[in-house]
């Protein structure tokens, strides 16, 4: 791995995160927002794996495993909340969920 390709991979992971961030901010559908969060999580995953590969440190992949666990937990709860919210509110519009009571 050259210095340039390492830098490029890091920039790529930043771009992935920002794309995910844009998705969360720009879309109103809750499901699409959840998918964008997954995209955003892919950014740091790539960064960790790249850094781990560069320094031959298993910590990079270990952090990726933790990110995996985090994503699993978040998806489980997020989707459960989405299904619950769908009974009383509109699931395609997160903007309607602006008060605490639903």
């Amino acid at each position: 791995m050259t210095e340039d390709s390492f830098t490029a991979l890091m920039l790529l992971s930043t771009a992935l995160f920002v794309v995910g961030l844009f998705g969360v901010l720009a879309r109103r559908s809750i499901l699409i927002q959840l998918l964008s969060l997954e995209v955003a999580l892919a950014g740091p995953s790539l960064a960790f794996i790249t850094a781990g590969a560069r320094h031959a440190d298993a910590g990079g992949q270990a952090m990726f495993v933790m990110i995996l666990i985090l994503a699993a937990a978040e998806v489980a709860l997020g989707l459960a909340l989405y299904l619950r919210l769908r009974r009383t509110a509109d699931g395609t519009d997160s903007d309607s969920l602006s008060s605490l009571r639903h």
């Binding site: 961030l21 969360v24 901010l25 720009a26 109103r28 927002q33 997160s94 903007d95 969920l97 008060s99």
Partner: protein
Amino acid sequence: MEVFGLVLTYNHLLLTIPSIALAGFVMLGLDPFRLRDFEVRALALIGGVGPLIPMLVFANACFHGQCTGMVPIFTLKVGESTVALALQMDPLAALVGLTVCVIGAAVILFSVAYMQGTALPDLRRFFALMHLFLAGMLTMVLAGDSIVLFLGWELMGLCSYLLIAYNTTSAEAIRAGRKAFIMTRVADAFLLAALLLLFLEANSVRLDHLIPAGVAAQDGMRPIIAALLLGGAIGKSAQVPMHTWLPSAMAGPTPVSALLHSATMVAAGAVLLMRFSPIIQAEPVVMAIGAGLGALTAIFGAAAALFQQDIKRLLAYSSISQIGYMMLAIGVGAPEAAAAHFVVHAIFKSLLFLSAGHITHHSPRGTDIMAMRGASQRNPLAFLAFSAGAASLAGLPVITGGWWSKEAMLGAVWGVEPALWTVAVLAAVLTAAYATRAVLIAAMPDPGSHDGHADHDDSHDTGYTLVPLAFLGFGALLAGGLVEPIMHLLGAHVPHAPLFTILVASIAPLVGVAIAFALAYVPALANGLQRARDIARRTRRRPRRQDKPAGFWVRIALAFSRGLRIDTLYQIVFVWPFVKLVRWLNGYGRGVADPAGNLPAMAALRLQRAITAPFAPDWIDRTWTAFGGRILALWAALRRLQTGRARDHGLYMAAGTAGLLLLAWGLTWH
């Protein structure tokens, strides 16, 4: 054996003691476990009696000199500090832990029969919470480091709240639970502060590092730490001034009162002080304050208990008073005597609650003291148990356990401060008086008795009920033999008290018994009590001033039966202003919405108008003054940014992050 970097030894079996109760909580409390009625009861018994078995093994070893000591479970080095989770088994932990396990087993055994007839989900909730409480208390007792100690402490407080408010349909119970939780939370804040200060001193979390560091603390830290520990103990143990939650906590079911609010949880404050006694004993001022408050609580509690109209509130004030004794003993430097009294008090107080609960269980008058009448005919066994407990509480000489422990405490106090000794003796007189009063009322024939009621009613006496009552009853009488061994175990040098004090300690309860008889049978006193009772009942339903002037005796009785109205005082001083303030801040009732933004602007506007009013403002002046008003309008416009939408707030956060990143980037430019 090494697992995950931990060296497991047999000592780690200490973990099983709270874990059995915790497992009971998990299985009973988690929704997905479908359990039938007898399974629930079996689990309740296993979780309740289970911790007793390993506890017996470890305690037995400890009493024979082979204490396990500190058992670290998880150690982490963070920089210079050591964070370790550990349990420990030393004589104090063994003693208190064994008492908690035994009383817990007895109460849960009793409550299996007592809670008959409740709906299954509620039964599960009840036993799950009782198990969680047992786990929390055992964790706190066996704690070897401050994190585990505080965890157990908080669990106890939480379970206390949930169990007091067990009857979720009763607004009074919920209010009582909330009051208990909030007051003990204030005390928990003191304890947390003390533990954090100790951590700063010792750079470690383990108790065997914290306590010596606390004793060696400089720069005036030690009195602060000792005072904070005392504050924490006062709140949890319902001492004056933080005692008003305990009488209200009697709104919970009787087994809850028997386990939590008499024997174990409220004594946790005293146990805390016993655990940290090296620090406390190094600060004479704090000791003096503790002893003074203990004596004051002892006599106040006893006086209030004498005039209570509800048997559970009577016993609650009695607990307050008895723990006052323990605090007094700790304050004069005799924590071992306090430990002995803790054990004996746990036995007879839980016995009193259980037997009183049994006697009044199906009474239409609830737990009013007059519901105890006729007990000697209806449930003679429960009445006998109640009398045994009352005798021990009163401290009848020699034959009851209470006398031995009270005598040990009084002997210790005499050696240090005779003035406090006098107060304690007076409290002992009053203690015997109210204990005897309760027994006398229970021995009276039930006036509403026709053929059916006065008869022997043992349909509710099952093995579950009788075994604990019998066990505790014998314990209350025979526990006197335990007092000296306990004090030796904890390393106290037991001096022989002078004969004078032993004589006074023996006569005092008899004087109290005489007073109780006088209150019951001397017409002037008895009528005064009845009058006070009627006034209290009438003014509770329709709060109005009584028209006829009441005599001095009646007023005294009324005042003490209401606990000297200290609860009302706290409501007026603390609760009511706070609620008003919160309502005002939220814009209810002529309040201002968003006061932090609006009030300064409004004040500035008023000031400015007041200054310029005498001068005739022209259009330049008016534009300037309009500027102030525009600020308020701008504020209102900015408020509309808070849309509550996730996307919008996410946008603001992202913008803020972008700003920070740009700033950081810009700072790297040369």
